[in-house]
Subunit: 325 residues, 2 copies
Amino acid sequence: MSSIKDVAREAQVSIATVSRVFNNPAVVSNQTKTRVYSAAEKLGYTPNFSAKTMRKSIVGTIIVMIPDISNTFFIDIVRGAQDYAETRGYNILMGRFDIHHFDLQKYIKLVKSKAADGIVMAIGHNRHFAPVAEAKGIPIVTIEEEFMGNPYIYVDNFEAISEIVEYLISKKRSQIGFLGFKSERERLLAFKNAITKNNLKYDEELIKKGDEFGEAVYASAREYVEAILKIGKIPDAVVCASDVLAAGVIKWLIKNGLRVPQDVAVTGFDNIEVAELVQPGITTVEQPREIMGREAARLLINKIEGHEVAKKIAFQTRIVVRESA
Amino acid sequence: MSSIKDVAREAQVSIATVSRVFNNPAVVSNQTKTRVYSAAEKLGYTPNFSAKTMRKSIVGTIIVMIPDISNTFFIDIVRGAQDYAETRGYNILMGRFDIHHFDLQKYIKLVKSKAADGIVMAIGHNRHFAPVAEAKGIPIVTIEEEFMGNPYIYVDNFEAISEIVEYLISKKRSQIGFLGFKSERERLLAFKNAITKNNLKYDEELIKKGDEFGEAVYASAREYVEAILKIGKIPDAVVCASDVLAAGVIKWLIKNGLRVPQDVAVTGFDNIEVAELVQPGITTVEQPREIMGREAARLLINKIEGHEVAKKIAFQTRIVVRESA
DNA sequence: CCCTCCTTTGAAAGCGATTACATACATAAA
DNA sequence: TTTATGTATGTAATCGCTTTCAAAGGAGGG
């Protein structure tokens, strides 16, 4: 590939002038500018990225880390972040973490070595991270959970779950079960709180906290339905901590001859595509995922560029009513 | 941040020695090595990425471009690519293209400017790309479709659709409809071919090629079901070009009082999570998505590193039978 | 004891750009 | 005409690292 030197020679100017043409065109005369442009064109010149960032302090790349679940929830966050990053001239490097890949250290290293400028960690609720000494001083923004005092974006789970429970109560449901993963503990706490606040019975037998990761969604829903069928205690509503769980529960209820929502109402969480695709459609809680991604990117980039940023930003959820409840 | 110079001073050696310790430790004595290591540790030294790649020809980053649909199909490809890339020490830069973001040029530029080494384009079937002059000479591997003579990974849609049609015939279905997007034209052609090959009637009224992008899945399925209901010609099976379409079709059939699969069998394509979550589960065609992603990354990285690579690699699909057919 | 060879290290060039500083020339002000 | 000011360009230092080449010192062979 041709370098700035080649262009300089071709255009018969110094390399400084060539550099100016691309970075500060205002200061160079029109005549030279055209000479340089056509030389660059002729040689197919593209400025070398590494050389540039070696002199500049900002690289123009941010890392977005998401858990390794094929969950549209996180994908939308990435999309939002990317949309925004683009407008500020930043690229997105995909990061990942799950039980198998706990690579925070690796990404921190990428930032330290100036391969990227900072990290958005889409943590997900109640996945906890021990502080990492090396992470100090590098720009980080998290989603859903605080991490080492860095800014974060979140939604109020307590309020959301509370709303959905109250919605069910308004529909005359009184025996309400809950299904979620352990990692969604906050949603369970919120559920417990909402139940007792409204003077309903918090029935441990109708509660299940799955232990698993990723693939286990389907099995977990099935086990839940089979368990309540076995003890013969059928709730008139089930609050699920995610839409996929809700879809699974609906599937197994119907398979066992129960009607949704007539016999059992089911609610989800997240409002991903699935919620609309299944029959009956799932009543769920919508979180502004893309916007959360955007905001995370915005905060991060502002931080990178040295501006003062908010400590935390909360977003409102919204109940989307479909047929399942 | 501290540089190689600082470490050199701290360890009382030359910068050349420090560099050797990190790149070619075999040639330096144990004594010096330990001195350098502890100096590096003490100063929190991380080699600067840009400086390094300015001297080396390989950056260690590949771009994976996917269409901007929240489709787990593409996400799995990215995951596969990332899994593999990691083992070779490469990172993934997220690229994107859709009607709104046709940014191939931008990514090509990233490669030309040595911010990345090459591109995996997860094109998707029958999305066509006009050749791009600038793309010449840069390492590219595509998925599902050939592009400018570059290597590509694909599955045989013809065979897959043919198999699914024959499976339906074996289940005594004879009036078979098709629903797909325009972009899935090859699957439609394959469908047509399979129908006529088996001496069934290819009935235009039972075929719908949606025009839309992204969000339109749900509406498209609904329109299809309403259309066949209106003309009163109910097929005994519907082949859908994707699982989300199939889920939508099932939903609307059930809503209109039809039974799946008793009245109408429905098949999908891709075997994404949804296929298992809905009731009835969707009989579909599985593509080895992650593996395709891996292979794409492998081909690309080999190409980047100057090895000879295959021209194209085909993968086998597999029918996953569930309840919907 | 001298010569050769090997191991270990340092000096310095160069990768491709940005940018502070200097210079040259033209123009406006005195 | 002389001086001050501004515009356009060039020179050279610098960013952090890799790598070639050379040199120093020790070990082994004759």
